[in-house]
Amino acid sequence: MRHTFRETLSGLKRNVSMTIAVIVTMTVSLTLFGLSLMTFAEVDQVKGRWYDKIEISVFLCTADSAGTSDSGNCEPGQETSEVQRENIKKRLESNPDVETVYYESKQDAYDAYRETYADSPLLDSLTVDQMQDSFRVKLVDPQNYQGVVAEASSLPGVQKVLDLHQVLDPIFSVLNGLKWGTMGMAGLLLLAAMLQIGNTIRMSAFTRRREIGIMRLVGASNTYIMLPFLLEALFAALVAIVISGSALLSMYEFIVVRNAKLSIQSLAWITWGDAWTSVAGVALVGIVLSIVPTLITTRRYLRV
C-alpha cells in the first residue's frame, strides 16, 4: 500500500502540468455538465407546474363574433344560443379526457380581469359586453389535450378554443434547445477530458514502463500494477469534482436563490435538493470519466 501511494504521488509530481491541464478541462466540462443537469431539472419543474395547471378555454360567440377572421362556428350577428350552450356543456362533460367543466360568464371574466389588472389604465374603457362567455375545461391528463380541443372546435356556437399549449410550446422548444445545447457541449468537453486523461495516463505508464515490466515479471497482480494510475486519475477527477461542485452550488445560491427566485416569483425554481442531485451526477460522471480511460490505456501495458 505504501508503495502504491508513493507511486501515485510521484506520478502526479512528474506530470504536474498535465495533471493541471486534466483538472482544468475536467472542471470546465463537469461544470457545464452540471449546469445542463440543472437546466433539465428547471425545465421539468416549470413544465410540470405549468402543464399541470393548463386548462382549455372554449370561448362562445358574441353578437359581433362572426365576420371577423376568427369567427369559428358563429352565426353572423348571433350570440351562442341557450340550446347550443347546453349542448356544448353536455358534450364536454361526457368526454372521458375531461375532469371538470365550469362556466365563466362575461361578468365573471370582467371581474377576474378587474382583479388581476387592478392598476391597468385600460380598465376604465373596458365593459362587461366586451368580454366573452366561456367554458373552462380541466383535463384528466393535461398532456392529453388534442382530442378535447378538436371536439370543442367542431361544435356550433363555439367561437374559439384556446389551450395554453399553443402558447407554452414555443417557449419550451427554446428551453429544450438550450438544455440539449448545453448537454451537447458538455458532452464534447467531457470527451476531450476523457482523451486527455487517457493521454496523461499513457505518458505516466510510459515513464514507468521499466517498473511495470518488472512488476509483471515477478507476478504482481494487475490490480496492483494499475492502482497507482487509477489513483492518479481519480485524484485529478476528485479535485475537478470538488471545484465544479462548489461552483455549481454557489451559482445556485447566487443566481437562483438570491436573485432569480426573488425577482421572478411566478416561476417554479429548482430546489437545493435538485442542485445537490446535479452535483451528485457530476461526481458520478467525473469518477467514471477518470476510471474508464485509465482502464483502457493501462490494459495495453498489462497484457500478459
Binding site: 508503495h3 518488472i214 509483471r216 515477478v218 507476478g219 494487475n222 496492483y224 500494477i225 500478459v304
Partner: protein
C-alpha cells in the same frame, strides 16, 4: 506444497515443465518459431538451452512464462496447462518463476536493497518478511555490504548478481536465465555461473539460454539445442557444439 497450490491433472511431483508436441507460429510469419517440441524438465534440473539466434530459444522461454500461447500442443508448468490458465492466474504462475536477462533490467534510482525488495513489495509482502528475506538473498548472491549502492555504481557482474537476487528473493521453483553472461567478461561469467549452480543446488530448476561455449562445456549439464524451431539435441551432461 506445490501440489496444493498448483494441483493439476498432469502434475506429478518432479515434473516441472512439460512440452507436448508444441508448435508456435507467429501471426504473419510463414515459418514456425517452434516445431513439434516434446520434452520434460524435472525438478532441480540445470538445463542449457543453446542454438543460434532465431533458433527459437526466446520463444521457448517466453512460452514457459505464458507470454505467448502455443499454436498447437500443450505446455505444462508446475502442473498447470498454460493454454487453459486463466488470464488473471498468470501473475500467480510468474511468482513461481524467476527471470534474469542479459541486460540486468535493474531500476535506476533505486539502491541494491530497494531493487531486490521491489520484487517482494509489489507482491504485497509484509515489511517484516521483506526485512529478513532481502538481506539474506543479497548475502547469498555475494553482495553483502553493498545494499545501499546504486546499480550504476556497480560492475556488470555485480549488477547481474542484484538481478539474480531479485529473481530468487521470492523463492521461485524455476529460474529462467536468458543469456545472463552475455554482457560479462569470462572471469565474471564464471562467478555468475557458480552462483546459478548454488541456486540450483537449493532445488531450484534452472533453465539458461546461452551462446557461451566455454561455460556449457565446463558445466557438463543437460543441453537442449534448438535449430530453426526444431529440437535437434537433448543430451544429459552435454557440451555446446554438436559432437
Amino acid at each position: 506444497m506445490v501440489c496444493l497450490v498448483w494441483g493439476g491433472p498432469a502434475y506429478e511431483d518432479g515434473q516441472v515443465i512439460t512440452f507436448e508436441d508444441v508448435s508456435k507460429i507467429y501471426p504473419r510469419q510463414a515459418k514456425p518459431a517452434l516445431r513439434h517440441i516434446n520434452l520434460q524438465i524435472d525438478k532441480g534440473e540445470f538445463v542449457f538451452l543453446v542454438g543460434t539466434s532465431g533458433s527459437g530459444k526466446s520463444t521457448f522461454l517466453r512460452m514457459i512464462l505464458r507470454e505467448y500461447r502455443p499454436t498447437s500442443g500443450k505446455i505444462y508448468v508446475l502442473g498447470k496447462e498454460l493454454s487453459r490458465l486463466h488470464q488473471w492466474k498468470v501473475p500467480a504462475l510468474r511468482r513461481q518463476i524467476g527471470n534474469v536477462f542479459q541486460d540486468f533490467r535493474l531500476l535506476p534510482g533505486k539502491t541494491v536493497y530497494e531493487n531486490v525488495a521491489f520484487a517482494l513489495q509489489v507482491l504485497g509482502r509484509p515489511i517484516s518478511q521483506i526485512k529478513t528475506m532481502v538481506p539474506e538473498t543479497i548475502e547469498l548472491v555475494g553482495l553483502a555490504g553493498k545494499e545501499d549502492r546504486q546499480p550504476e555504481e556497480l560492475s556488470g557482474g555485480e549488477q547481474q548478481r542484484v538481478a539474480i537476487a531479485r529473481a530468487i528473493v521470492n523463492r521461485p521453483q524455476i529460474l529462467i536465465a536468458d543469456e545472463p553472461t552475455g554482457n560479462l567478461d569470462p572471469q565474471t561469467s564464471v562467478g555468475i555461473m557458480k552462483l546459478l549452480d548454488r541456486i540450483n543446488k537449493r532445488d531450484t530448476t534452472v533453465i539458461m539460454a546461452t551462446h557461451d561455449q566455454t561455460i556449457v562445456d565446463q558445466m557438463r549439464r543437460r543441453v537442449i539445442e534448438l535449430d530453426q524451431g526444431n529440437l535437434i539435441r537433448d543430451q544429459v551432461k552435454g557440451v555446446y557444439g554438436t559432437a
